[in-house]
């Protein structure tokens, strides 16, 4: 009898259910992220604007308090779809920067250290791997986008009364759906760049480059070729255009109509998915 | 030719400490390493690489001073004409062949093309990589990468060679050739400072050893000298003779004998004694009395035993 047959016994204990196995990845990834003081500080900075908005909503419902300071209530912005649209655009920029900070550390270390084979030699699929890594970003970005957005909506609803909520419940939907679209776009860009660029810093620069330089290049294309389709390369603007439809603000989207913007976003997501699954595989190609 | 002053022939560390934040690298190390092959021995994290990096100026001491043949590591222009360092890092500049690697880094010395080319080929020849010199390093085996690093360290003909785990990944034949090369370099009067985990090889090649544990130097010197200083552990001496039982009865005349164990084949005896000198004198007398002694050999004055006695306990305790 071979020695290992006498000594080796396979694991026979309880296994994590298959459906929740992907959640093992965010557990460790988040554990590695939060010791970074810079990340914690940046995450805190992401809440400044929502906090300001909450104060603003509170003040706009306490006009007597404002009168003490001789502030005219009429000068205050109305809390409506436009208010929440602006909130979403500001937090979208913060989410982009947060993605550039967190995203590169997700897949690139596994690729650089040849660790993918270790994941996939276990009952763990490529889809679960991508879902696990993506859930880290989805969680963090939700924390700075739609979750505080919904809290703001609830604060407004509690102060403005049930009738306001009944008339404006679609704003809450727009906040959640709009933010989730942007979160998915950012997550896919981050994972794709992180999978293709082993050096974390370069991956981070590339994520920023895709968002910032893509926007700049799109606008340059519009100017040079006298077209408006270049805006499709500006993924943030595409999302804003889509949001303008969700928030029922037709004038807010520039250059594109919502369908064109949705197509551009879908194309970007498909390209990122293709890039991601081209790189995340349980084998290495040795050249 | 007049020999160089003592200071210029030693690698000297004076009360050197190095901390990585709150983590100890090495602490209060004072050493004077003469020419010849010196081995740094110790478990992982004992401070071998830190000590080598300190000698070559890749890191600076938190406290104390380092002088290599009288030159401070803060003076790279002088130091690196004297020192060659083969590090433990298995990384190379991207896209270079073995020859380009050696040649390009020789050009950093400011030397002309012809001289660099000649030195590069000589170094490659010394590590027997001529056939693979024009292949990309990325395609080299582990052993070839070790050898090209070694070639890079000795290409400029340094007086001090610092080699971190140079025998790792080498096959037995190349290992033997490399050990022979170290001996050759040491015989030329150079310092060859080697770190290794393979204790029997350290035993084979070293003129002196430096034993490190947890950042401290626990012993230094020639291996026999170090062994005789370890009084906690009795010396073990192996004797092959025709009448081991009779010999065993005689050796207990000495109160320094701790144990005598007969070999199972009935042809020998292992003696443990606290005073090897007295035991050898007794053995001479016994030999004259008619017991035929075939061979006498110390059984534990090698690096392995010294390592076990000095560091083994700490290792086990970790």
């Amino acid at each position: 009898m071979a020695v290992y047959k006498r000594t080796y016994q396979g694991y026979s204990g309880a296994a994590t259910p298959a459906w929740s196995r992907f959640l093992i990845l965010p557990r460790y990834s988040l554990g590695r992220l939060f010791p970074s003081k810079f990340l914690v500080l940046f995450l805190m900075a992401c809440f400044f604007y929502p906090a300001g908005c909450a104060v603003f909503i509170y003040l706009s419902h306490h006009l007597s308090f404002l009168r003490v300071f001789n502030i005219q209530a009429a000068n205050f912005l109305e809390i409506n779809a436009n208010f929440f649209y602006i909130y979403c655009t500001v937090q979208a920029t913060m989410a982009s920067l947060l993605t550039a900070l967190v995203g590169p550390g997700l897949v690139s270390p596994d690729v650089a250290n040849h660790a993918l084979a270790l994941y996939f030699c276990r009952p763990f699929s490529r889809f679960e791997y991508a879902a696990g890594k993506m859930s880290v970003l989805i969680g963090l970005l939700s924390l700075v986008t739609w979750i505080p957005g919904l809290i703001l909506f609830l604060i407004q609803a509690s102060l403005a009364g049930r009738s306001w909520m009944a008339a404006n419940w679609w704003i809450a939907q727009a906040i959640v759906v709009g933010s989730l679209i942007w979160i998915v776009v950012l997550s896919l860009i981050a994972l794709a760049m992180s999978a293709w660029v082993k050096w974390r810093i370069a991956a981070g620069a590339l994520i920023l480059g895709v968002i910032f330089a893509g926007a700049g290049f799109g606008r340059a294309l519009n100017a040079v070729l006298r077209i408006r389709g270049g805006t499709m390369l500006d993924l943030e603007q595409d999302s804003f255009t889509l949001w303008s439809a969700l928030f029922r603000l037709p004038g807010a989207g520039r250059d594109l109509d919502p369908l064109e913007a949705a197509n551009a976003i879908a194309a970007a997501c498909l390209v990122c998915l293709w890039l991601l699954f081209k790189k995340i595989r349980p084998f290495e190609v040795v050249k | 030719m007049t020999p160089p002053p003592l200071e210029e022939s030693l690698v000297r560390l004076e009360n050197v400490s190095r901390f990585y934040g709150e983590v100890l690298g090495v602490n209060r190390v004072t050493l004077a390493i003469p020419p010849g092959i010196t081995s740094l021995v110790g478990p992982n994290g004992s401070g071998k690489t830190t000590l080598m990096n300190l000698m070559t100026g890749l890191i600076r001491p938190t406290r104390g001073s380092v002088r290599v043949l009288g030159v401070a590591p803060e003076d790279p222009e002088k130091l690196f004409t004297l020192v060659g360092y083969s590090t433990q890092f298995d990384a190379f500049p991207r896209g270079l062949s073995g020859f380009q690697f050696i040649y390009s880094f020789l050009r950093l010395f400011g030397w002309p093309h012809a001289q660099c080319e000649q030195l590069a080929w000589r170094a490659i020849g010394r590590v027997r990589l001529n056939g693979a010199a024009h292949r990309k390093i990325a395609g080299y085996s582990k052993g070839m990468r070790q050898r090209i690093k070694l070639a890079q360290a000795l290409a400029h003909d340094p007086r001090v060679l610092v080699l971190d785990e140079p025998l790792n990944g080498l096959d037995p034949l190349v290992r033997a050739e490399t050990i022979a090369l170290f001996r050759e370099l040491a015989a030329e009067g150079r310092h060859v400072i080697v770190s290794s985990h393979v204790l029997h090889e350290v035993d084979l090649i070293s003129d002196q050893v430096i034993l490190l544990s947890n950042g401290y130097v626990v012993a230094e010197g020639k291996i026999q000298g170090v062994r005789s200083e370890i009084r906690d552990h009795p010396m073990q001496i192996l004797i092959r003779c025709d009448r081991p039982a009779a010999l065993a009865a005689r050796v207990f005349e000495l109160d320094s004998i701790v144990e005598a164990r007969l070999h199972a084949d009935g042809g020998g005896l292992l003696v443990k004694t606290r005073d090897a000198g007295r035991f050898y004198r007794l053995l001479n007398r016994i030999a004259l009395e008619g017991i035929e002694i075939e061979s006498v050999a110390p059984a534990d004055d090698n690096v392995n035993s010294v390592y076990e006695y000095l560091i083994g306990g700490e290792e086990a305790g970790r």
Partner: protein, 349 residues
């Protein structure tokens, strides 16, 4: 001594050039530099096609320029077609961002400009004239693209990639110690690496700028003045010099140079809002001052790009060039001090 330093510097440059030029990893830098070239090539192709189309249409539907100018709002469709003949395009519907609006559009060309007449309820309501593009217009567009895209984004990110890689990239790849084990002053190493990065970046980005300028003036009979071309090429090279020094230092001082790079991006963008003294501690201030054509401000800028785009009061050419060299020199001196103290501790990378 100086000869040896120079020989050592050349050796460093030779080694670095192998890594910086034509490496697969640096391919994206070429792409980012090539993007505006492709854009201007596309512009040339589309312009030549439009010209040919208009001339072909004008030949098939000849319309005198005087007759086109005589058309006035309020005229009926029949009156317009009676004066100008059959249009080359008769569109019944057009879609607008707000939904579908039923309109009639008639299009004519005199071979150079395109005239679009919009009718509602049978009466001419709008006249849109799209004249042939001119070099003067394209000069302004080039100035905008050069300042807002090329300098601030393409060269900026290109320099982040090239210059942070010089030290930080080698620390991450664990190959920097080979340099530090050579009998060479760290200052010489730094100068060699910087020179290699500068040569690579300047070659890539000035070549791209030269190609863009050539493509810009290709469809026209006249070309841009040599002085203007030289100014743009000089500004591109000086941008590499300035940003290069900043990102080389960032690679030495920071484990993650992306954070200072983002900081520099914000600092450079906030330039016009800074007090005069602080403005001068930036690269973009001097670069913009040296640009031969002022870029018009973008009124429709989105919040994200608004963060990136800024304009500032120009400095004199001598002051701007001297200022850029001074900023680069100051940053390199700091970087050299850091390089002297650099230790190899790859474990923490």
């Amino acid at each position: 001594m100086i000869r040896r330093y120079w020989a050592q510097m050349r050796a460093v440059i030779r080694l670095e050039m192998k890594k910086t030029f034509l490496s697969r990893r640096g391919l994206w830098v070429y792409l980012i530099a090539l993007a505006p070239v492709l854009m201007f090539a596309g512009h040339d192709l589309s312009m030549m096609r439009t010209r040919e189309e208009r001339r072909a249409i004008a030949a098939a539907h000849p319309v005198p320029a005087g007759a086109l100018l005589a058309v006035q709002p309020g005229m009926t469709r029949e009156e317009v077609t009676a004066r100008l003949g059959q249009p080359n395009l008769d569109a019944r519907q057009i879609r607008f961002a707000g939904g579908r609006v039923r309109r009639e559009l008639l299009s004519y060309t005199d071979g150079q400009s395109r005239y679009v007449f919009g009718f509602a309820d049978g009466q001419l309501q709008s006249i849109t004239v799209r004249p042939e593009e001119t070099l003067a217009q394209d000069r302004v567009i080039f100035a905008t693209v050069f300042q807002f895209f090329y300098l601030r984004l393409a060269i900026f990110f290109g320099c982040v990639g090239i210059f942070t890689n010089l030290f930080r990239g080698e620390l991450i790849e664990k190959s920097l110690h080979y340099y530090l084990l050579a009998p060479m002053r760290r200052e010489v190493l730094l100068a060699g690496k910087y020179a290699a990065g500068l040569i690579a970046a300047a070659a890539i980005f000035t070549s791209s700028a030269a190609l863009q300028l050539w493509l810009l003036s290709m469809p026209y009979d006249s070309s841009l003045p040599g002085r203007e071309i030289a100014a743009y090429l000089g500004v591109a090279a000086l941008a590499c010099l300035g940003y290069g020094s900043v990102f080389l230092a960032a690679g030495l001082f920071f484990r993650n140079p992306l954070l200072p790079a983002a900081g520099v991006l914000v600092w450079e963008s906030a330039n016009p809002f800074l007090p005069s003294a602080l403005k001068k501690i930036s690269v973009i201030y001097y670069l913009q001052s040296l640009c031969p054509v002022a870029a018009p401000p973008d009124r429709e800028i989105n919040p994200l790009l608004a963060l990136l785009i800024s304009s500032s009061e120009p400095a004199s050419t001598v002051f701007a060039v001297a200022g850029l060299f001074a900023v680069a020199a100051a940053v390199l001196v700091l970087a050299a001090r850091r390089a002297r103290l650099l230790e190899i501790n790859y474990g923490t990378e």
